[in-house]
Symmetry: C2
Subunit: 181 residues, 2 copies
DNA sequence: GGCGTCATGTAATACGTTACATGATTAC
DNA sequence: GTAATCATGTAACGTATTACATGACGCC
């Protein structure tokens, strides 16, 4: 593999239209961020690298004295994006979940403390679900469905996690009958 | 924050009993790996750092000429673990999901290619769920419930993701106009 | 004039993986 | 004896975050 996954985020965003690094970052923050984040420290150097490889082409817009450098895909860039999108290489899928980690070790706590932590984790996911719901999507007929479905996925994902916490809370609340007994 | 999250994995594993770095790694691989992984390159240097900070104590076992260096928690280490377990600092929760990323950009593909990718992602999660189910847990009465529940969580999590893919496949499959399938 | 936003970029640092080097013990 | 497993550790590399430095433009 030559390109990092994050460079495909950039290529993909440029496939949707000509953009500056700043705009790419803003778009990532309201779309792919919840399953693939990217920071300026990655985006700007990566844009330079992609340009050197001939996958994107940048042009400084001087029409009114400003200096935003907008990039667009080259033919080679389109090919690279397409190859990645259709490849069947093993997918990079990774979760880092401090709440689950704490829960794993939480038998060292009192039952109340253990429940407190579960509630905190649940609230975190409820907040994240609310944040995603606040992103009002521009869903028009005829528009490609994937971005909207991805947003729905994000919401369902956070709700699943919040729901799991809620069920675990129930199971660990004293006075409840244990499952399977 | 002084300690990295990964050092709490180590402290937590040592809370469960005296262990060598090798054993910690093996334990992580069948338990926390799916929401917090760790490699030798992290574990051994981190153990050394934790010992310098007085949170763990290592002793070389020379009873029969071997050299496994087993570590255990010190009182300070127990305190550090407990403080982390009960703290209400924002949780580090992060997902990197290449399948979701591809799906987000997949409107650039033909419907068949798009479905192919969804199926690949689904199969990945189905495989992961199967792997987790293969981990036979030692669930005895009186044993702490969290590790077992965490395993159940892992399975439910992978199944949720596989299920979401299946539903997306259904939604993107053109209505049964064709015959002969 | 000052604030917010647009805009680009770098440096320091942290985090993490992989591959490598080394060697003992155990089971066949 | 030889293969698997136990066991420790480092070096090189890659990936990513954070903070910082810089400055223009538009609006109030």
């Amino acid at each position: 593999m030559e390109l990092s996954k994050t460079s495909y985020v950039i290529l993909g965003m440029l496939k949707l239209g000509r953009r500056t690094g700043y705009e790419i970052k803003a778009l990532v923050d309201v779309s792919t961020r919840f399953f693939w984040a990217a920071s300026y420290g990655q985006i700007y150097p990566e844009l330079a690298r992609l340009e050197k490889q001939g996958l994107v082409k940048g042009e400084v817009d001087r029409t009114n004295g400003r200096r935003p450098k907008a990039y667009e895909l080259t033919a080679a860039g389109e090919r690279a994006l397409r190859d990645w999108l259709t490849s069947d290489d093993p997918l990079h899928i990774e979760l880092r979940h401090e709440g689950a980690l704490k829960f794993f070790f939480s038998d060292a706590l009192t039952p109340e403390e253990q429940l407190d932590q579960l509630r905190r984790t649940r609230r975190t996911h409820e907040d994240l679900a609310a944040q995603l719901r606040a992103i009002e999507p521009e869903s028009e007929a005829g528009k490609p469905p994937a971005p909207l479905m991805t947003l729905e996925f994000g919401i369902a994902y956070q709700e699943f996690l919040a729901g799991w916490c809620a069920e675990a809370e129930r199971r660990l609340t004293p006075g409840q009958v244990k499952k399977g007994s």
